[in-house]
């Protein structure tokens, strides 16, 4: 069995120092947005954080 989560979350704001050459897909350069705490293949337990805003 499988569970699929689809959700909306803030992408975060651009950091000023990264304004030039910043792509909308470049999540690492945003602040205050959604961040994953997991890796593919990782085992997780109920209650463990998958990511956070």
């Amino acid at each position: 069995s499988t569970i699929v989560l689809v959700f909306e979350a803030p992408k975060g704001r651009r950091r000023r120092s990264f304004d030039e050459g910043f792509s909308d897909d470049d999540e690492d350069k945003r602040v205050g947005g959604w961040k994953w705490n997991i890796d593919i293949g990782q085992k997780v337990k109920v209650g463990q954080a998958l990511g956070s805003v």
Partner: protein, 442 residues
């Protein structure tokens, strides 16, 4: 025979070209006829008017998936029947003295941690189905203290996660399927609703107020106020302490993990907790696409795979409101990582229950996908939902017929709304970590 074989003279003649051309022409003619016949049957199914009483609609043409030979073979098997048979088999009561060695063997094979099982005496479980749907001891799954985190809904393995671009979810590397196919292509509306339970009402505009969204009078730009501004403008309200303490975290609430003991008499109810958490949400949010907002938003997805030995109840990852559910009566292929790699669109083909709602940051959906061995999906707050039942297919056919009578295209799912569950929230409230349901054998 030997003499004839040895003495008969063999003479070779060229096959006339016309015969070869004729054979190929016949083959092509046969193929065209066959294709036209299939198309005619499909059109008849689409245009048929079922007005007479007691009419049984024709069975919908089965969707055949693409994939390697193993998938092709699997697609010919009666997977739902096998799943139901497997479920019945596992409901057979085991002999008392066979239970402990049997469950221990199962645990050894599939890696079940028996120390976490709520019931230490395994004799209590009469069969494998009961053991499979076991509960865990309270507190053995502590919830992450970060109130802004999304929690894992179940024990399992992360198969895929990421951001959804152009409305497509990546199932495996290079294979994608659209969000419309997974969740349903239509925005929930009254005309396409098939309410199936008494406490489920038709959808209406959510009555949830939106105190945090205002318009700037100078440039008519939408502005989201901060929590502090809300506090200053609106004063103290029942929602505010919850919001300021992180929305879902209560200082006096011990982090007990699974709320199996349900000793929540002194704690806020799910509804009040979610109501507090959702004060930031925009009630007039459209379908799953992120609404235009000063804060850039995106859609994210995560796929968690539950192995046979895992705890098979699932929990709410955040505090949210379930507004509707859509039951897609599909097939029941295995959802093992191997098949996820080899069968494109597996989650779109399989039977699934899509729970749609909203959380503090907007749209939220939760989709348990069934499989051959664990085909039954149970939702605790939806007692009338029946998955992998004998009536599932015929119900889907009936709904296709009803949609046709109304002159609408069949959406492919049965939809119900939870509006009546909470007049304020417009749905069923769930708090983070709360048990939502589970997967059952067969």
């Amino acid at each position: 025979l030997g003499t004839a074989w040895k003495n008969t003279k063999i003479e070779w003649y060229p096959i006339p070209v016309a015969a070869g051309v004729g054979f190929l022409g016949f083959l092509q003619f046969y193929r065209i006829q066959e294709r036209q016949r299939q198309q005619r049957e499909q059109d008849e199914f689409d245009n048929e008017e079922h007005t007479e009483p007691g009419h049984r609609p024709k069975k919908r043409p089965r969707i055949r998936p693409e994939g390697p030979w193993s998938v092709q073979i699997m697609s010919t098997l009666p997977l739902k029947f096998l799943s139901r048979l497997w479920g019945k088999f596992n409901e057979i009561e085991l002999p008392y003295y066979f239970r402990i060695p049997g469950f221990k063997l199962y645990s050894w094979i599939f890696g079940v941690n028996l120390d976490e099982v709520a019931e230490p005496d395994l004799h209590v479980y009469p069969n494998l189905a009961a053991f499979f749907y076991r509960q865990l001891k309270p507190g053995c799954r502590p919830l992450d203290p970060n109130p802004d985190a999304i929690l894992s809904p179940a024990d399992g393995k992360i198969i895929q996660f990421g951001m959804i671009e152009h409305g497509e979810v990546e199932q495996v590397k290079g294979v994608t399927y659209s969000l419309d196919a997974l969740l349903g292509s239509q925005q929930p509306n009254e005309s396409s609703t098939h309410s199936t339970r008494s406490n489920i009402a038709m959808s209406s505009e959510s009555p949830m107020p939106s105190p945090f969204r205002t318009r700037n009078p100078s440039n008519d730009e939408e502005v989201i106020r901060s929590d502090e501004e809300f506090a200053r403008v609106n004063g103290i309200s029942y929602t505010l302490p919850h919001l300021l303490s992180g929305g879902t975290k209560y200082p006096d609430e011990p982090n007990q993990g699974l709320p199996t003991d349900q000793s929540t008499t002194s704690k806020p109810s799910s509804e009040s907790e979610v109501r507090a958490d959702l004060a930031l949400a925009n009630p007039s949010r459209p379908w799953w696409a992120p609404a235009p907002s000063p804060v850039p938003r995106a859609l994210y997805y995560c796929v968690v795979y539950l192995a046979p030995g895992d705890y098979h109840r699932f929990h709410s990852p955040v505090s949210w409101v379930v507004e509707s559910r859509r039951h897609f009566a599909g097939e029941l292929y295995s959802v093992s990582p191997y098949l996820q790699r080899t069968l494109p669109g597996l989650f779109v083909l399989n039977e699934r229950v899509v729970l749609l709602g909203r959380w503090r940051h907007g749209f939220f959906s939760y989709t348990p996908v069934g499989a051959t061995n664990v085909g039954s999906i149970k939702i605790n707050f939806d007692k009338e939902l029946r998955t992998n039942s004998l009536t599932t297919d015929t119900e889907a056919d009936r709904q296709a017929e009803r949609a046709k009578q109304r002159g609408e295209p069949y959406s492919g799912f049965a939809e119900a709304y939870y509006d009546a569950a909470s007049k304020v929230l417009g749905g069923h409230a769930l708090k983070r970590g709360e048990e939502m349901g589970g997967f059952q054998l067969g």
